[in-house]
Symmetry: C2
Subunit: 366 residues, 2 copies
């Protein structure tokens, strides 16, 4: 049985995208409310909401499913208001990045089921919304003992209809998992960058001399404080536990360096290599076969299209693709990942024929 | 006065690339030696060396400049042998990733000047060598009090002729700088990945649930142990100092979380945002104006060329470009960075006309 009437409370990036994706999936009627009238008007204009409402009550009163998509700090009130206004038959969910505190605070454990789409966009507001935002994304759901199968089935089916992959998890386990896979990396990006940025070495600025490893590692540094202060504080307990374990592991490395224990370092690097392959096994059929084709390219329009076009014409599938920008004067380094040595050799031949100098190497070393 | 006679000791990736780039730059004669006859034969076959020699002595005896490009562990012996065999007029340099211990170990502080090209390729062997390897790369040089201007000028000019950007630095400062900008990030990538890979959370594998932040942060995890064990051990002192300071900064964050200090977190994130912009200021003229154009793309040949070609035809310059691969079934997310909102809008219109759903946002938030 498909969903007919959806309500969205909070029509920013995520809320508007839920609306757009829901309408594409065939939901008949999407009502919406946002405390910011401009956000709501934008969302309506873009077609994310077909009935903008003047209050939470008006938005949710006839809905079968209510998605609360306010900022993390306003979720508790938003969920409470939605539960108070919705019918007994309605199910309420949210899209917050942390789950334990919110789920523990909600008294109605039958009608509320927590949720968290992992879509990783830092943009804000309904103008950035997209029906594609959830395509292929993991969408955590946190059913509990009281959850009724029929309500869970409705929510699971709805999330899948948006293109996401629903994954059930305990609320506390969710926050522990997020601490390890997202909140710790975000925190470390800030720590590492502020460390490198706070010193000068013999007149040299570390940030001016930084290579690709520091740049990759700090890609998420300085991420939107309006979102991240709330996430860090809301998940402070799990994040502190992860930071403590991180420090313990750093001390272990320091001891290995102090005793010049090459065997320990070899095992440690080997373990990291294995973990990297496991991480990538999610994304690639056979990470071990991937080859990196590296080309130095000038900084001008059309260069990338020439290269990708040549590979596309030869039916060489690009598995991954990264341009590491050096500077306007010096151009950048282009890494193209392709499957198998034969494809890599063909790619290199094609690009060398275009006058590029090409370096081929295994993408993930054993 | 251009260099006429160059000798290369160690014709692996770096050595062979030095040979190829030197010949392209007009060096008349390149002799070479490698302890592995196969490496040497390959390098000669590719034209990186025009006179393969049977010993270090034979390789360097007539050279004006000797580049020692052996693995880090063999550098000390390589430099000593080269200095012993070369003429008084010859200058000897190396390409090792650490400088303090090597420079301190060399007695002849007039004829030896240390060097380190930062080219970040993990590939090995002369087959991967490329005349382009150093294009735009920083190449550290470590002149000391005894260095003669004429020798430094020769080395500086040679490095610049390969396309690199020579940068003079004290050997100890070099290693401290590398600890912060490269060795610490590499070590943390291993620590973070082994941490996430060592636990299961309520049955869930963190590595299977990892988002983009963990993947970006651990891109260099498990990097070639043949290279990295030597680097970590050779720079153990500076790396341990950096790790200690890193732990101190983690404890500071733990305290802020414990006292729920939102003001501290806001300042800390703001500082990281500023540092991120400083880091990127090296690469982009105006990082603040950059816009991210995000598109969800299927996993099949020709998709990237269609997109890049459309942008190239409209003279929209792609400043940066990353395909975040999700899976063969679900495709991936393509991020294209372009300069300015007008260009981003044109790019979005073009891609929407091709049927893609597009999200535009500022690349680096204030």
């Amino acid at each position: 049985m498909a969903l007919e009437r959806l309500a969205i409370v909070g029509t920013g990036l995520i809320g508007a995208s839920v609306g757009l994706a829901a309408r594409r999936a065939g939901v008949r009627r999407v009502t919406g409310y946002d405390a910011d009238p401009e956000f709501l008007a934008f969302a309506a204009e873009r077609g994310a909401v077909d009935e903008p409402a003047e209050s939470v009550v008006a938005a949710v009163e006839e809905a079968e499913l209510v998605v609360v998509a306010t900022p993390v700090a306003a979720l508790r009130d938003g969920v409470r208001d939605a539960l108070a206004a919705a019918t007994d038959g309605a199910t309420v969910t949210d899209v917050g990045s942390t789950k334990a505190a919110l789920c523990a605070s909600v008294e109605d454990r039958v009608r509320f089921i927590g949720g968290h789409p992992v879509c990783g966009s830092e943009a804000r507001g309904p103008l950035s919304g997209s029906a594609q935002l959830f395509a292929g994304a993991t969408w955590f759901l946190t059913p509990v003992a009281e959850t009724e199968p029929e309500r869970y089935r409705l929510l699971h089916g709805f999330v899948a209809s948006l293109g996401a992959v629903p994954l059930a998890i305990d609320p506390v386990a969710h926050d522990r998992l997020m601490a390890l896979t997202s909140h710790l990396p975000h925190a470390l990006a800030n720590v590492v960058l502020n460390h490198a940025g706070s010193v000068r070495v013999d007149g040299h600025e570390p940030l001016g001399a930084a290579g690709g490893s520091l740049r990759d590692m700090t890609r998420v540094a300085g991420a939107n404080p309006r979102i991240w202060i709330d996430i860090f504080l809301d998940n402070a307990g799990e994040l502190r536990a992860a930071l403590g374990e991180h420090r313990r592991r750093i001390e272990e490395l320091e001891r290995a360096l102090e005793s010049r224990d090459a065997g320990w370092l070899a095992r440690w690097i080997g373990e990291a290599g294995g973990n990297r392959r496991r991480l990538l096994a999610e994304a690639y059929d056979d990470p071990g076969a991937l080859q990196r084709v590296r080309v130095h390219v000038p900084d001008r329009p059309g260069v990338l299209s020439g290269i990708t076009q040549a590979l596309g014409a030869e039916k060489i599938n690009i598995e991954d693709f990264e341009l590491d920008h050096l500077s306007p004067e010096r151009g950048g380094t282009l890494d193209v990942l392709v499957g198998g040595e034969a494809a890599a050799r063909r790619a290199a031949d094609l690009l060398e024929a275009q006058g590029y100098s090409v370096i081929v190497s295994p993408a993930f070393e054993d």
